[in-house]
Symmetry: C2
């Protein structure tokens, strides 16, 4: 496995691989790799000649008072996992390699961000879209892999790729869960053991909503209320949002039909967790 | 010469050329080609295996009340000129090919645009940076050629390429002028014959400034006043701005030293003209 920290070197290595006809799969991450990332890597490994993983905790997507400093990091462990997953190139730039000076440009996300995490975290998706634009130009992949746990991020990157015409195929990979349903996340390490027990209820609440919709409920507000009440009853956590929207456009809907997402975000004492399910109602 | 209107086709043709080791030079234009564009094409023709020219009048970079509708167009004449210059691929997308739906993202230019045309044309450079981002992803060039008549555009694209890490070399080409010094521009056709005579004075005013600096003047305001007075005396035109700034950072300077630009914009009855000179003062 080749560990690269320099942008120009990354571009040169990839360009020469692509010139020799190799297809490049790319898994961008913020590190502290877990089974969710490993699932992305396994799929990308299967579908491409070259597998690139980036590890970069992007300051631009953290707001004031968010957990940039506290975000868990462990490069040594990450590089062992990457090696085990058959990663060819691990791209691990320093912050001042990615942002060497105050930037003259940034990407603004104008749609798909008025709800869910976009509302709670102003500027977050601008930071995501900006760093993803940079990473696309540095890694020059044919396919990029994102996990559907961050479904709004997938929707934003889908818009970015289409509207800026990146010659890249977006592959959205289903959320990987613990045995009890909790979505895998780097932030799960910050749950106390009581919170860890309660955190399983986020997915249970989403499953409850799914069953209710399957039974015929078509009112989005009724579903949102149902999930909120379930979480309040089962978790000592503050609800940030429970929202039902169309997917991937993320528009509010009057009635539940077509492809919809039910997304939740809650704050435990030291960790903000998100989860979602996407349903297709004919 | 291959004329392409479809984005996916353009990406496929270019990718297969690049995979066979060809270097791609790119001249983005809004058409109505003149000797300035031809100079860009000749240089790009010499320095690359494949020459791509785009013709696209980009609505996003025109403000309300600007000359989007009136902007001169003549595709038949343009394609003859492109053919003569040895263009391999002429990319000529329709507006709804480039902007098929309301966009979810755009590029914002946060620096280098508080003066010159950035001040007079709010949103203009966001539109330029957004379409250039799209064109870079569609044409995937190794080198891109821009004329220094639009020096602020060159500075913005320089920032865009660096800050978004596009693997593209920017080649800035000196302004091409008529015999009497008037900078070549598609908009010159809208000058009356009296205005056409007067328009030469923009460059004369800039040359006057250059001589005064060579004689030792180091006060930017004195130079700006000198050029303003000269233009007011010689032209029946409204001055939009006369500004002296650092280049390419485009910051105001206290004293004239290093690389600086003197830029002017004036409004004749039917055409807004711009011109500039860039000096290096040791």
């Amino acid at each position: 496995m080749n560990v690269i920290q320099n942008i120009k070197e990354m571009q040169q290595v990839i360009t020469s691989l692509k010139n020799s006809g190799k297809k490049v799969g790319f898994v961008p991450t913020m590190g502290y790799l877990h089974e969710g990332h490993q699932t992305l890597m396994k799929q990308a490994r299967k579908e491409n000649d070259i597998l690139v993983v980036s590890i970069f905790v992007n300051p631009l997507q953290f707001g004031a008072g968010e957990d940039l400093e506290a975000y868990p990091r462990n490069f040594e462990r990450d590089s062992i996992i990457a090696e085990e997953e058959g990663v060819d190139i691990l791209f691990n730039p320093a912050v001042n390699e990615m942002y060497p000076r105050s930037s003259t440009v940034k990407v603004i996300v104008e749609d798909r961000t008025d709800g869910l995490c976009g509302k709670s975290r102003p500027g977050h998706f601008d930071g995501v879209a900006t760093v993803v634009t940079k990473l696309f130009n540095i890694v020059l992949p044919n396919r990029v892999y994102f996990g559907l746990k961050d479904a709004q991020q997938v929707a934003v990157v889908d818009g970015l790729i289409h509207d800026f015409n990146f010659p890249i195929e977006l592959v959205a990979v289903p959320t990987v869960r613990e045995q009890d349903g909790l979505a895998k996340s780097s932030r799960n390490v910050y749950l106390s053991s009581l919170e860890r027990d309660q955190a399983r209820e986020l997915y249970q609440g989403l499953q409850l909503a799914k069953r209710r919709i399957e039974q015929g409920e078509r009112n989005p507000e009724a579903i949102e209320q149902l999930v909120k009440a379930y979480i309040l009853k089962t978790c000592d956590a503050a609800i940030d949002y429970v929202e039902l929207r169309s997917y991937p456009q993320l528009r509010p809907v009057d009635t539940i039909v077509g492809k919809v997402i039910i997304a939740v975000a809650v704050k435990f004492s030291k960790a903000r967790l998100i989860d979602n399910i996407i349903l297709e109602i004919v």
